[in-house]
Structure formats: structure tokens, C-alpha cells
């Protein structure tokens, strides 16, 4: 069976800077795949190219067998890819319920159905009691939850999560992992960019490591920690050293 998402030879050039220089990755349906790499490796750029926010210079991105590289952003979402942002992008003057309803309207054109589904999703992510709060009035952790709710409301088959754990307290991280397990249990496939390795280790079935815009490893989390190239890539960037070392204290 071919994977849900298949990325081959992804290249993105910004002027003279080659941010991506041949990224390959596969995401199997129903799995949780983690995309990691040192700072500046091109993780966010790769994410933007997959989600449709940026047009890759070369390479292919196939989602359910359809080529989506360079497709308009909103059409990628309509095909079934939802996403969150590294720096939260809320609809500031909408309540949590309104923002989630906006997502739900993609597959439910009638407001009544969309609101009902949004209520359900908000309960699922644990924001039911805050549904009348304005987006800008939520805490960082709740804003991130709201972004997940908004993306889930579009009923994606693939959910792209960009550093959802960053900036959260350990307790909040724990709750986020719990939510991730439940999202996977719903049958939604997840591809996530993450720095905090130790929380990912137990749940990521598949790890892809990129460095300097190239895929250097693809395999299990345990394999990544032992891989010579991966260790080299992280050691080459001392600031990031802790990111992977904390995985095996």
C-alpha cells in the first residue's frame, strides 16, 4: 500500500539560499511521524511546502496519490490536510467556538451542523468550558489546543503539527501527548515537527531527520538516537545538542 503522504526530492530556494535540498519522507496512513532536525535544517520550510503555504522550487508532494506541490493553500486544506502553526495564528476577535466553527464549515456548509460539530470537537480537545472566550484571551496552551480544534474541525486525514509542545509546561506537555494519542485513535494521521524529543519517543512510530535541507535518516526513534549521521548533525550544532541527548538521560 502506498503511503498517505509521499515527498520526493523537495527543493526550496530563497534567492541564493537553498533552504531545502532534497527532502524525502513518507507518512503511512494512521501513523504518527516526527520530523526532527537541528535549528535551520529546513523543518518549517518543508512543512510550509507540504501544507501549500509555500511553493517548492522542485520535487513532488503526493497526498493520497494526488500531486499537491505548488497547489493553492486553501485547496490543499480542502483535500484533507489540516495544520497548526509554530507561532499560533488565532482569529483574534472570534470566540473559540466561532473559530472552530469556521474550520467545520469546510465540510458542513450549514451553520447549524458546523456549530454542532465544532462543539463536539471543542469537547474532544478539552476546551468546551472556554468556548465563548475570545481567541486572544486564551493562554498559550489553550491557543494551541484551539488551533488543533480548528484544524480537526476541517476533518483532515493528515494533521500537520508544528511544534505544538514548544513553550508548554511539563504538565501541559503531558496533556498534549494524551490529546495526540486520542487524535491518532480517531484515525487521523499525524506528521509533527518537534524539538522536545523525549515526549515523542514513546509515541512516534516513525522518525525522519533532516539536516541542511536534506533527509539524513528515516526509521524508528530508537534507530535515530543510535545513527551516526544524526548524532553528527546535532553535534555540529552544539546549541541543539540537548534536544536529542535528553532522549536518553
Amino acid at each position: 500500500m502506498s503511503p498517505l503522504l509521499e515527498v520526493r526530492g523537495l527543493v526550496k530556494q530563497f534567492g541564493s539560499l537553498r533552504a531545502l535540498d532534497g527532502v524525502d519522507l513518507d507518512v503511512a496512513a494512521g501513523s504518527l511521524t516526527a520530523l526532527i532536525g537541528p535549528n535551520g535544517a529546513g523543518k518549517s520550510t518543508a512543512f510550509a511546502c507540504i501544507a501549500g503555504a509555500a511553493k517548492p522550487t522542485a520535487g513532488s508532494v503526493r497526498f493520497r496519490g494526488t500531486e499537491i506541490a505548488g497547489m493553492a493553500y486553501h485547496r490543499v486544506a480542502a483535500l484533507g490536510i489540516g495544520r497548526t502553526y509554530q507561532i499560533v495564528q488565532t482569529f483574534a476577535d472570534m470566540t473559540a467556538l466561532e473559530a472552530t466553527t469556521t474550520g467545520a464549515l469546510l465540510r458542513r456548509p450549514h451553520l447549524r451542523d458546523a456549530v454542532a460539530y465544532a462543539e463536539e470537537i471543542l469537547a474532544f480537545v478539552g476546551l468546551a468550558d472556554k468556548r465563548y472566550r475570545l481567541g486572544r484571551a486564551l493562554t498559550i496552551a489553550d491557543k494551541k489546543r484551539l488551533e488543533v480544534a480548528r484544524a480537526l474541525a476541517t476533518e483532515p486525514q493528515l494533521l500537520l503539527l508544528d511544534e505544538v509542545m514548544a513553550g508548554l509546561t511539563p504538565a501541559e506537555c503531558g496533556a498534549a501527548v494524551e490529546l495526540l494519542r486520542r487524535i491518532l485513535a480517531r484515525g487521523v494521521t499525524v506528521l509533527m515537527v518537534e524539538h522536545v524529543m523525549e515526549v515523542l519517543m514513546p509515541i512516534a512510530q516513525h522518525v525522519v531527520v533532516i539536516a541542511a535541507g536534506k533527509t539524513i535518516f528515516s526509521g524508528t526513534a530508537a534507530g535515530a538516537v543510535r545513527d551516526v549521521d544524526v548524532i553528527d548533525a546535532y553535534l555540529g550544532s552544539p546549541l541543539e545538542h540537548g534536544a536529542i541527548a535528553t532522549g536518553t538521560p
Partner: protein, 320 residues
């Protein structure tokens, strides 16, 4: 929702009573102007308030209706025909000019609307069949077919119907996919695209409806004043007035434009009564001060502030 319907019903009843009760031509004139401005403000509000594309050239759509009316009359047709014709031309103009410009952000869009309006203005002023700079004076011919009435009250009643229709349409907008999508686009266009919103399509549709409303108001206005020329319909000054009304009451709210129109008409009249011709400018000082205050303290305007407060209260009740 029900509260809004009751409020609208109450306004309709009060104004309708005034139409029968009032004999003062001045009072009826004020009422007509108020309703017309409320419609124009709401029309602006669709694209600039809900959608966040601030237009300083909205008068051209009002002009489409006014000129359609003048052309129908001068060609021996009923001005009622100008309602669909003017609306169609306005919607097409909105689509043609909006297609390339609606994707421009912030001031780029605002200045583009000024440029487009200036080009339309220059076109009208130099086109013989549009009456060039002198415009049209419409012949007096009272009757339903000619949309001319001996009683000012009849115009007020028509304006009231138009106002009620526009308010109902806006209530529907607020409870529709397009209304949610416009607000989402205004708040964050990238995040909006990420939930599958096609910005260009949503905004073009909103812009076309917005232009349609302004055009219908233009038809009524032309038949009321029986005079159509560039300064009274499509000039930059009219566009600025429309934007002013839209901002003062609160952008992106159902009642903001009506409140803005009320403030506008009352202030203009009060200043004129108090100070006569010498009072020129004082009303501008007050609008200017209101807009500055709103922009600095409460960007969503008078009504926006109330809506926020209500939302918070409803949230508190739900939590309790």
C-alpha cells in the same frame, strides 16, 4: 438573533409611523438621508468591515445606480429597470476591479480603491453619454412608473424597505458560511487559507453584493433629488463620507452603520442649526476625534465594544 429582529421591527414601526405622522419636509428629508446613509454604510461594511478591505472608493457603486437611473429616465425607460441594471453593472465593476485588487493588503488596497474611483470619475467626466461633468437633470413626472412621488413620505417608505432588506441580508450574512469566512480572513488570511477558505472567491462574492446594495441606494437617491452629477454621486468626498459612517459606528457589526449614519446626520444637522454656514468643519472635527479615539482605544467601534461585552457576559453565563 431574535433581539435583532425585534429591534429591526421596532425601527420599521417607528419610521413607518413617522412617515404618516410627520408633515415637516425637513424632518422627512432627514429621515430619508439617515436611511440612505445607513444602507451605504452597511454596503461598505460588508467588504471593509466584515472583510477588512478598507475601501475609499465605494461611491462609484452608488454612482452606478444613480447613473443607471438617470440613463433609464433620459432614454424613456422606467427607473425601476435601473434597479437590476444598476445593480448588475455595479456587481460587474466590483468583480472586474476586485479580481486584481482584493488580494492587496492594508493600505495597498485602500489606495488602489482611490485610484480606481478616480479613473471612474475621469471616465464619467469625459464621456458624453454619461453627461460629462454637468450630469443629468431629470424631468419631473410624478407617478409610480417613474418612481417620482409628490409626498416625501413615499421615498422614506421605500428607503425604509431597502434599509430593512439590507439589515436582514446582513443578519443572514452573520449566520452564514460567508460571514464566518470574511471575519476569519480579516483576522488572519494565512490561517483562513489553512482551513480551506478561498480568499479571492469569498471576497469577490462579498464585494459584488456590497456593490449591489450601494447601487440600489443610488437609484433611489437619483429619483429623490432628480439630479445626478459626479460630485454628488461618485466623487472622493462621497466615498470618504461612506467610509466615515462605516467606521464611526463600528466595523464588522450589524448595527454599526446605522449608528454611524445616525451620528452623521444628527451632527451635520446640529452643527448647521447651531452655527449655520459658519459651522462648516466643526462636524468634521467631531467625526475625526471619534474615529481617532476608536482607532486608538477600541478598533471595533461603538457597537463592537458592546458586542464584545455581550459575548463576555454570555460566556460567563455559560460557564456558571
Amino acid at each position: 438573533m431574535r433581539a435583532h429582529l425585534i429591534a429591526l421591527g421596532a425601527i420599521v414601526v417607528v419610521v413607518a409611523a413617522a412617515v404618516f405622522g410627520l408633515r415637516s419636509a425637513v424632518a422627512l428629508d432627514l429621515l430619508f438621508t439617515l436611511l440612505l446613509y445607513a444602507v451605504l454604510g452597511q454596503s461598505w461594511n460588508w467588504i471593509s468591515g466584515y472583510g477588512g478591505n478598507i475601501s475609499f472608493g465605494h461611491a462609484i457603486f452608488f454612482g452606478c445606480g444613480a447613473y443607471a437611473s438617470a440613463l433609464c429616465v433620459t432614454h424613456g425607460l422606467s427607473p425601476w429597470l435601473a434597479i437590476p441594471a444598476g445593480a448588475l453593472v455595479a456587481a460587474l465593476l466590483a468583480i472586474v476591479t476586485g479580481f486584481p485588487t482584493l488580494a492587496l493588503r492594508g493600505h495597498y488596497f485602500s489606495i488602489a480603491t482611490i485610484a480606481v474611483a478616480a479613473l471612474v470619475d475621469a471616465f464619467v467626466r469625459t464621456t458624453p453619454w454619461l453627461g460629462k461633468a454637468t450630469g443629468f437633470e431629470l424631468p419631473i413626472a410624478p407617478g409610480w412608473a417613474t418612481m417620482q412621488f409628490p409626498q416625501k413620505g413615499t421615498y422614506v417608505a421605500l428607503a425604509l424597505i431597502l434599509f430593512a432588506a439590507v439589515q436582514l441580508a446582513t443578519m443572514a450574512l452573520e449566520r452564514s458560511r460567508m460571514g464566518y469566512y470574511l471575519r476569519a480572513l480579516r483576522a488572519n488570511h494565512a490561517a483562513a487559507a489553512a482551513v480551506g477558505i478561498d480568499e479571492r472567491r469569498v471576497k469577490l462574492v462579498a464585494f459584488a453584493w456590497s456593490a449591489t446594495m450601494a447601487a440600489v441606494a443610488g437609484v433611489l437617491y437619483a429619483q429623490y433629488t432628480l439630479f445626478v452629477d459626479p460630485p454628488s454621486t461618485i466623487a472622493l468626498a462621497i466615498s470618504i463620507d461612506i467610509a466615515l459612517i462605516g467606521v464611526v459606528g463600528g466595523i464588522g457589526t450589524l448595527w454599526g452603520p446605522a449608528v454611524g449614519a445616525l451620528v452623521y446626520v444628527v451632527l451635520a444637522k446640529a452643527v448647521a442649526l447651531q452655527l449655520g454656514g459658519a459651522g462648516k468643519g466643526y462636524d468634521l472635527v467631531i467625526y475625526g476625534a471619534i474615529i481617532c479615539l476608536i482607532a486608538a482605544l477600541r478598533p471595533y467601534g461603538i457597537v463592537g465594544t458592546i458586542v464584545d461585552a455581550l459575548r463576555r457576559r454570555r460566556g460567563a453565563e455559560a460557564a456558571a
